[in-house]
């Protein structure tokens, strides 16, 4: 079967599965809609949490980031997994015992303040929308590359699917769909990773392959590195040969900023509302504890494969492009060439540098994610340290001598004394998507990646949309706007609130789709926002609410506002006003959430001690949260 048919088949089958699950798990009550009735098995919840957590960024971009950053990529690997330790020990069991539906619920009730609740609602909506914009874009990219439709059509198809199961099924539909999506995405990530590990190192698991030896003689353009050299040693040597000042396995960002980034990502992970809400869906406190463990196990299957994939991709790319003739290598295959490649592969040989084996290169070049500028005019591709040209590629309509797309960018000169001049630009996001083609893996693997990328983006988008809809219908409408002043309860009936929740979900999907089609130019930068704000607001305010009985309304509100405003201002100044124009103490905007969090803790402590203690019934509530007995199911009010 040809590639396109296989892709339609894999993507179509996975979509049919998700819709089938949505119909089976239709939500009948607000409890079903917000927390899946509170009856999800911890292992299933772990899988759903993993799918919810692993977004298009984890699936598509993470390996690219690690491949580019080398050892420094560890801040992302550790930050996005280590947060689960905090979540399991400091938040999940107590929030489950608290037993309401949302994070603003906890903030509003624990601090007996609708102002605090409203601040939390605004944060939830802001953080979740920044995240959703990236997901819808991811859906669009995968669609446009693999389904041959344009990005906008892709986004609209994605919206339609999410609409179906998020609006109908609510949390119940999402949870069981996410279990299926986890299975699709993990298979889609691990299968090519295993293929690559076998190809590059002869080791089955990428986790071990990373420390293995290369299975072939590797010509990096300066010297040939012998088969049997350790992969990481070969990469380090190649980096030195090609003029990179710091080898692959050494750090360049510095201890201070790596440390701050890692703390911000961990606290942000533990404080993200769409992750926290997953722990409201299990039946018991002990399930919440173990469920975080299962979630991390399922996440780590992907995350521990990433460093291997990143290193294999880096080595493969250099091996295949270095000094290869552009015109013959990237040409459309004739039947004879195809047969020649297959003959070499049938004997277990490496065909990746053969004529027409690099046709993928031209495909991605057409998509604008690869650029090649033949600076020395030899018709061959060279890759080395330094940018090939200034900025992102801008293409002219002309075609070059070898058939490449001509670029209008200004070429950059190689650093003095460097043997090879870099001619290549590769967008880091294509590492995972293009890997199977670079390594010439079977067509069904490529189809699988398309389905996996969509599963990753859709599962995260759905989880976020649900959190947004709950924040609007449950917290804002139910508990602030339509609050009965005397009883403190919502004046909306259960049926009305469910309808409002579905309406809010529809509105959220429309906004998300709009953001996907017209992405703000700064999607990548706003991720720092989501994590920084979660780390500076939700994480400390919940920790204080559980572990500090004396923490009161005044302290919590002061802490949240200081943490939020400080972090927000620092990011806006350094990202949007003037790039790195207002840096304090060498702190990058990505790590500023850590400082915001510390400020939050300090301010909250002093303000709470200077003002009256919280009322007796609130102190009693804190005592109660700390003890598992009597959790019962999550209830409304």
């Amino acid at each position: 079967m040809d590639l396109q048919t296989l892709i339609y088949l894999f993507v179509g089958a996975s979509f049919a599965l998700y819709i089938g699950i949505a119909i089976w798990a239709k939500a009948g009550s607000t409890k079903d809609f917000y927390v899946a009735g509170g009856g999800v098995h911890p292992v299933a919840n772990g899988m759903a949490t993993a799918a919810d957590w692993m977004s298009a960024a984890s699936f598509i971009s993470l390996a690219g980031i690690v491949s580019l950053l080398g050892r420094d990529g560890a801040a992302y690997l550790m930050g996005w997994t280590g947060g689960y330790v905090l979540l399991a020990m400091l938040l999940a069991p107590y929030l489950r015992k608290f037993g309401k539906f949302t994070v603003p619920d906890f903030v509003g009730d624990r601090y007996y303040s609708d102002f605090a609740r409203t601040v939390a609602v605004i944060c939830v909506i802001f953080v979740s929308f920044t995240y959703v914009a990236g997901q819808m874009r991811g859906v669009g990219v995968v669609f446009s590359r693999f389904l041959q439709v344009d990005v906008n059509t892709g986004v609209i198809i994605g919206m339609g699917i999410v609409f179906f199961y998020a609006v109908l099924g609510g949390m119940k539909g999402i949870t069981y769909t996410q279990v299926a999506q986890y299975c699709v995405l993990i298979v889609a990530f691990v299968v090519p990773a295993v293929f690559l590990s076998l190809q590059v190192t002869g080791t089955f698991l990428p986790q071990f392959g990373l420390g293995g030896t290369i299975a072939f003689d590797f010509d990096n353009g300066v010297q040939t590195i012998q088969q049997g050299t350790y992969l990481l040693t070969a990469l380090d040597q190649t980096f030195t040969d090609l003029g990179f000042s710091i080898p692959y396995t050494e750090g360049r960002a510095g201890v201070w900023n790596t440390f701050l980034l890692c703390v911000a990502l961990m606290a942000g992970t533990a404080g993200l509302p769409h992750v926290i809400v997953r722990f409201f869906t299990v039946p018991k406190v002990r399930d919440a504890r173990i469920s975080a463990g299962w979630a991390l196990l399922f996440i780590s299957i992907l995350y521990t494969s990433v460093p291997g994939v990143a290193a294999f991709a880096r080595l493969n790319l250099i091996k295949n492009v270095q000094n290869n003739d552009y015109a013959t290598w990237t040409a459309e295959c004739t039947a004879e060439q195809e047969a020649a490649i297959n003959a070499v592969r049938a004997e277990g040989g490496d065909a990746a540098r053969m004529p027409c084996a690099g046709n993928w290169f031209a495909t991605w070049e057409k998509g604008g994610l690869i650029g090649w500028m033949d600076k020395n005019g030899d018709g061959k591709i060279q890759f080395a340290n330094g940018a090939a040209f200034a900025g992102k590629p801008t293409y002219t309509d002309a075609t070059g001598q070898s058939g490449e797309r001509m670029l209008s960018n200004a070429p950059t000169a190689a650093p003095a004394g460097q043997a090879i001049e870099n001619e290549l630009y590769v967008d880091r996001d294509i590492i995972v998507l293009a890997n199977p083609e670079i390594a010439r893996l079977p067509n069904w693997v490529i189809a699988l990646i398309a389905a996996g990328g969509l599963a990753a983006a859709l599962s995260t988008a759905a989880g976020l949309l649900l959190v947004i809809s709950a924040a609007i219908s449950h917290d804002l409408l139910g508990r602030v706007i339509f609050k009965d002043k005397e009883t403190g309860k919502s004046k909306m009936s259960e049926a009305n609130e469910l309808m409002a929740a579905r309406g809010a979900a529809v509105a959220a999907i429309l906004v998300a789709g709009y953001l996907g089609i017209n992405p703000p130019g700064f999607v990548a930068q706003v991720v720092a926002f989501a994590f920084g704000l979660a780390a500076a607001s939700f994480f400390p305010v919940i920790i204080n609410g559980i572990f500090d009985k004396r923490m009161n309304r005044e302290g919590a509100i002061a802490g949240m506002l200081v943490g939020l405003i400080f972090t927000f201002t620092y990011i806006v100044l350094n990202v949007f006003v003037e790039k790195n124009g207002f840096i304090i103490a060498d702190i990058k905007p990505t790590g500023i959430g850590t400082i915001g969090m510390i400020l939050h803790f300090v301010v909250a402590y002093f303000v709470s001690r200077a003002t009256a203690a919280p009322p007796q019934e609130i102190q009693q509530m804190v005592e109660d949260i700390r003890i598992p007995r009597g959790a019962g199911a999550a209830h409304a009010h």
């Binding site: 560890a74 801040a75 997994t81 330790v85 463990g293 521990t304």
Partner: protein, 84 residues
Amino acid sequence: MDAQKAQAYWKENITTIMQLLAVWFVVSYGCGILFVDLLDTIQIAGFKLGFWFAQQGSMYVFMILIFIYAKRMNAIDEKYDVTE
């Protein structure tokens, strides 16, 4: 449940969390960031030790820590008779 017993339960809970978080900190921030260059002087098979902790080891330890925590908390819950 009387207040004294609740306090003892909470204290034991905090001790458990602190012990496990100490390991969490040493492995991730210690081995993976602060002392990574020092550990990199030790090479085991194809890995420099610091690099291994940063990109592999810390994640395995995180997983193990949560499962140990869940198990120990269940035991403490039973000891103080606060299970659901």
